[in-house]
Symmetry: D2
């Protein structure tokens, strides 16, 4: 005796890799398939369609296959409404809760497909049903779940829509490409990234820059400050260290005590870091420090002066911290989440911790650029599965000035 | 016209590198020196002594030289009492505050040298003077400074005592050695590390293990759990992710959804991570989860069962987090600081973030072992300047089982 | 006006990624397609078939598309014989020569498909036509081309057969997977690799081990020697340095002067390396050195004693070199090429240079295991496109002993 | 009973680290010392002097200590002539041969100190004694030793002169510094490197550039070609791959088949690599290819046109190779050795293999600049112990254009 169920795939399912993935899932998980219908888009823009019966030895083997097919964009041939169960307590999900992918997703409520708002990975889906036309669904991370929330469970009534390969070239952005090649001409790639940023801005999009302290040490501060000032970067997501190094540079011309021009250590320099924090605390925060003239240039200065959004998320490595740094991790995540959801292109510069935190909150449809000297970092960040990502293994200290030149000169 | 001042160095100042460093400091910072007296320890155990006049063009050039010499262990020939100034506000240090090294340090108050308690790098020194025999000095990080605290300023009246090279071999531990060589026989080095741990325990010392989630993914969980159970590890410092992966392994046999034995992904597995957190929250925390039988083995289980100290510090990468995770960065640092100050040997396993946080709180006299697959991580951690550190670039998934075998079999 | 041509794809073309690749090629290169026929294998073992008309603006645009489709396994719907042209001179190929992939390949001569022997990447195909049933085709690297050789040009009459995804799980070996995950339990993966080696031997296959000097430094020498002795490794491909370190270990107990047990540097030790070479030269070579009792254990000793094939390829880094080291790069490549063609499973241990050299000569059907501490090295080696490859980022000094234990105990 | 001997150290022995090293050697190797005389240079330019009796339990313990002290620059208090023994056979050194460091060295023959020519590491010293004033000594690598050569054995009569720390700042060059910091402003460091090159040229010195193929892939070709043309680079040391990629770029505008401007793969592109070699072979070599107009720009073009010295050393990774590539490793080493001995500053760009080969032949007094994206490579190259070395972890594709701009604009 075997059991089976029927799923459908639709769209550019061959070149977007969905058919390959579907076949692989079934075989890897020990199932069989029977293609009941397959119509291939005979031209580049025509869509394909596949109806496939999936067969397994028993229900326990079939369910994981269906689940996995489902996460890859297949839908059950005869859709039913999503199953909802109340959260048993705050921060607790019901058994069998549906855990999201980072792809656009719909849930079926009362026969209607409702899009899930704020899609990001590994969340629960909470539905508010205020009657016809007033049904909403959105993601909630575990710590936002409240007792009684209507949480989607199982796979039924859920439709995942993985991004499809663009019909034309997508510039430097690879389609669902985890890998990264170091063997590209660096300047050409920087030019392409500049174009993507300019294009995003031209279309009214928002650019979020995630920046680590290495941007400042390596000498990328002035370039990034210019990009903030000229509006190519709309928001900055960073840590306490980044902001301190940036302001230390303005206040003392040093970064961690090293003169950023001469590279000499004006001994006593290592105190500058702590003293910068102390002085900004005394002033009452970054905005106050800018206003009282303590900080006269740099990324934070430009953020304050040009009213750009910034989030400084605290970590256990921090000195100080600054009054502006959000020390609670959950609160900081919420601020980062807002930035991520608003962004159309994210530029990740030499910051594994903050880039992962931002990346966790991104939909697969957000353009992502990762720049790091460490290829393992770039690979890890691209692996998150953005449909349009480009990774570059380079020196942020040469990348940022060159990018600024491409965009501003 | 030139200005000058006289400093003294004393002890095993040649082979511990202090004389070299002193000469270098003067030359690098553009000064001159005149050796007024130099007596070299003529035998291995005899100490040396040097009195050196340092000459510079003006006071502005002289002070940085003296400061740097001072940080390296030189003392002014004619010591005066330390200068104290009240902190102007909470979290604000007075101008010219003295910023600590990670070496044992004394401050001179009323003609007496008082040791600074809880020495760690980049802190202020706060003195409480309750009269003769009731003077204490201790480090305070910026966020612990309270308005009115008596803070040491300048370099006068401060004595730094960098560790001296041991008179005999220190086993695998290099003396003040930042570098790390990959070209050593791995098993021999693991054996030496096991001996250092056993020796520390035999002397009644305390071993702190800083562990990243890779310890669990790579299969090091059971070995580390045994070391905790058998008392070779007294305390664990980790993050939310480490604890979740460890308990997911006990609850589902998976880590991030991958079966840790068969390495197969039981699809649906990626939900295990979130569900583990949800269930532990439901139970009321890790201890409750162990007690109700939800978690039956692993590192956290052994910590709870054997009453080992653990700290879980939150970060912006966390899912959940667990109720036991300290989400506030300052509060988490304080917990980590306590662990670091209590430790005699710190074993850092595949966790850059947590290892840096712990390392920031360590005195240069605490033995440190860093293990990571990434040589840059090991180098960065050893650069902090422990007098007795050993770095090993290896796979934590093979290191932990081998270490456990050496210690337990 | 447009031009077009028709290609066919056949086999497990969906789940092996050929269809996805074909669609992508056409779109990336600016063409259009029209699917004239598509029959999908309705069950797991049934094959699929696709006939596709490819359309481009002109011949100059069409040819690259057809070429690329062809390299990916598509064949022209109406095959013709391959075009042959004589090589104009030694080491010179005719204009438009066909450059091989590493996939099994046939050429059509007199209406018959002839398999190309010794397939490897980036070679020319030379045909010897001695009349019916006496036609042979084989790869030749540039430096083997002789004036007058019949060299295949263009794409016509060539059939490339990329490996298909196995119908069942292939153990630790990923299908055409370039990436490598560090997040696997190390011991489980080592166990799987041991099983693959044992399986290869049980099937009468041949295991080639490519080993760098780090194997010896890290303490993997004894384990590898045992694998050679017990016949789990049939052949060794290494450099001069590997052999010298290995024999230095036997002659002096050191590797580059470091005692491999105690890790102490018996000063004078750095001379051991040169002196080892000098003594082996004096003896007349490795075999003679083993016979006269100069070398009494180790990998080279076991190779000589058990008559295992070894190749030592010279490089510009070498000291000496040993008399057994092939100093001419072309001659060394030929020796390596022979080893590669004979191997059924290749185990690459911590040697980028030699692993690339061996990898260049491998067909995509040879199983490959890459072990290195540097993830970039593993990625680079896996990128060569073996259909069955597994990469492991680990410490060769712990990997080799564990592998030997799995296989021998 | 103990045995002892007396050694002397002289010069800037404290700040150059020699005293520290001497004390450490004695203690690490289990000896004792008795300082018989110590006079410290009381001012910056005055030299110091130390006479030290070294005591050990027996001769077997004493000799390694003396040897090691000796390699570090100590001399026996009562020097004798060097001991000479004839080489027993070609490529064979006598027992106890003296193996060189990379520091300037003298040998004492007939009571006179004779400098050793062509100093490099791990060589034998061969003396030709043609009578008074006609005594010469020079290094010979093992494969250059001829039967009967007078080879220095033991440590007696040899004087090693490790470089001393410069009395003033040495710009970006660290003194005997193995480590490398990524936390420097990249542009400032590039500017400093440019100045060091310009200074070397202004002093009539010679700049050797060791370049890997990544220089071309990453887009550094045009910049390096300009530096060759304008005479900032006097000689190039590279491999077959570098030259092929460079000429492929000129002939087809591609590198390994990728268009270096647009980064698109003109499919068929992977054949360009082989075809480039084939065409250059047809022309008769690189010079001929330049002359017949086949190659019209690039690094090799500039080398030929401006008569710059280049060496292409073969390796087992090579395609082809080109007729200009020296395929024999020993012959190639000799050519590299000549380049290394002539160089005053060596710029190593993204080539581990060739940089190690060149580095092996360098005296510790040659300035060295290492640039690589992989910090482990930079560390490994700097560890060789140049007295004046600077390492930079950056992207060669941004480094070379910026360096060319600094020097040429």
């Amino acid at each position: 005796m075997t059991v089976s169920d029927v799923v459908e795939l639709e769209g550019h399912i061959i070149d977007s890799g969905l058919m390959e993935r579907a076949f692989t899932v079934v075989m890897d998980l020990g199932g069989e398939f029977d293609i009941e219908e397959f119509s291939v888009g005979t031209t580049k823009t025509a869509e394909s369609y596949c109806r496939m019966r999936v067969i397994a030895e028993d229900e326990a083997s079939l369910q994981p296959i269906l689940h996995e097919l489902h996460q890859s964009g297949a839908t059950l041939a005869s859709p039913t409404d999503a199953t909802l169960e109340p959260a048993p307590a705050d921060n607790v999900v019901p058994d069998g809760f549906y855990s999201t992918t980072n792809h656009p997703t719909d849930v079926r409520i009362d026969g209607e497909w409702v899009p899930v708002a704020d899609i990001e990975m590994d969340c629960a889906v909470v539905v508010e049903n205020g009657g016809p036309d007033e049904v909403t669904a959105r993601t909630k991370v575990l710590n936002a779940i409240e007792a009684g929330d209507s949480v989607v469970t199982g796979d039924a009534g859920i439709r995942v829509r993985p991004p499809e390969r663009p019909r034309d070239s997508s510039g430097p952005f690879g389609f669902m490409r985890g890998g990264v090649s170091a063997e590209r001409p660096s300047r050409s790639l920087i030019r392409d990234i500049a174009e993507a940023i300019a294009e995003t801005k031209a279309q009214g999009g928002r650019v979020l820059c995630v920046a680590g302290p290495a941007v400042i040490h390596a000498g990328g501060g002035p370039g990034l400050a210019r990009l903030v000032r000229e509006g190519y970067v709309d928001a900055v997501s960073a840590g306490n260290g980044f902001a301190v190094h940036d302001m230390e540079r303005s206040m003392y011309g040093t970064s961690l005590g090293m003169d950023v021009e001469t590279m000499e250590h004006p001994r006593k320099g290592h105190k500058h870091h702590i003293y910068t924090i102390s002085e900004v605390i005394r002033a009452g925060g970054i905005e106050a420090a800018v206003e009282e003239g303590l900080v006269e240039e740099g990324v934070m200065y430009e953020c304050v002066t040009n009213d750009r959004d910034f989030v400084l998320a605290g970590s256990i490595r921090d000195d100080g911290p600054l009054p502006d740094t959000i020390t609670d991790a959950v609160e900081a995540q919420n601020a980062i989440r807002r930035q991520a959801h608003e962004a159309d292109l994210v530029l990740m510069l030499s910051s594994l911790l903050h880039s992962v935190a931002v990346g966790n909150c991104l939909s697969s449809t957000t353009r992502t650029v990762c720049v790091d000297i460490n290829p393992a970092t770039v690979t890890q960040l691209l692996d998150r599965g953005s449909a349009q990502a480009v990774g570059m293994v380079t020196d942020v200290g040469t990348f940022v000035p060159m990018l600024a030149e491409e965009l501003l000169e």
